[in-house]
Symmetry: C2
Subunit: 226 residues, 2 copies
Amino acid sequence: MRKTKIVVPIMLTELAELEKVSVSDYRTADIVEWRADFLSADEILEMAPKFFEKFKESKILFTLRTVREGGNIQVSEKKYLQILKEILTYNPAYIDVEFFTHGPSFAALKDFRDKMVLSYHNFDEVPSDLTNRLIKMHEEGTAFVKVAVMPERECDVLDLLQITRDMTLEYGDHFISMAMGDLGRLSRISGYLTGSCWTFASLENSSAPGQISLKETEYILDILEK
Amino acid sequence: MRKTKIVVPIMLTELAELEKVSVSDYRTADIVEWRADFLSADEILEMAPKFFEKFKESKILFTLRTVREGGNIQVSEKKYLQILKEILTYNPAYIDVEFFTHGPSFAALKDFRDKMVLSYHNFDEVPSDLTNRLIKMHEEGTAFVKVAVMPERECDVLDLLQITRDMTLEYGDHFISMAMGDLGRLSRISGYLTGSCWTFASLENSSAPGQISLKETEYILDILEK
């Protein structure tokens, strides 16, 4: 059994697209991430029942990636919370909550911590306070803590691997980390060493810079995690 | 062009085997390593002219890996030096010299430093003095400095990646490092980050624990070094 779980995002830009999606394409994904932020708020709530019905055999991670954290949707705090609350009624395996951008929503959803992937994305750099941010997020007691950062130099990637390892040794196996871009690719396949629990792999178009395809990720992890 | 060069070892155990070797199997290897230590000293010297003729289109690394450094041949210092001297007459691209095990031979061959892969192998651990050993080896001014060590824990591998990166930044692009065993596999494909110049990949049977096949290594490096 593979140590690092593979999450495959699905990014639908129109309601009609859901029908064309072939669930079997996602059959080897450990988790399907519905990156809902390619739709409007109303479209998300309209699509939700059909999406969760269609993927009822899959573990679903619901993610509303906002513009400030590199995503596509711009919503008020109120609307962000409202969408997450409604999605929770469909009982997804996990929901992503942007800790530093949507603190109030996180506070309002604390009862669902066992479903939460508390996330932080930095598309500019690997911030020097990353360790403190990770500890802060860890202390909230969510299922997972996820960080995605942008390395500027090789050492940034190596530092992230080391930080993830230290966090895992210190606080346990619930961290997910990735360095984005071409430089960061190694971080997407090094979970067996660092303890990073998940890796995000694309079916076709990637949902973040430096992402590797599902097929390639499976091939590489099967070699590294022999 | 691939940043990390792929070295493929060839380990012949009998004189008659050379004829059966298909040179085209090695055509995508950047360097062919003749791991001669699977033969006796006399067999090596007898095979040499045919080997160098057969692989005249390839860059050849000649390696006599002694028992003390994880290899198969046990020879006196005198015999070790005699073999290397004779092999040098065939003008291989590189020769491996075990720095800490065969210091006198290294001293006697200093004129060939531009062909030398100065090597150190530790099959037990990642020694705490690894950085000092690397600096000491670097100071000898050889073409490459190669270390292969055995990690006991995940942090050992991450430390090796960091040390290799630091060495490369400090002293330039002539280090080759690998952590052996299953744990160390990531180090065999992370040259684009650490600066490790070569990786050793097997055609079929691996010549060191944790080695990845040539085909797999090419596939992975083409993804990571995009």
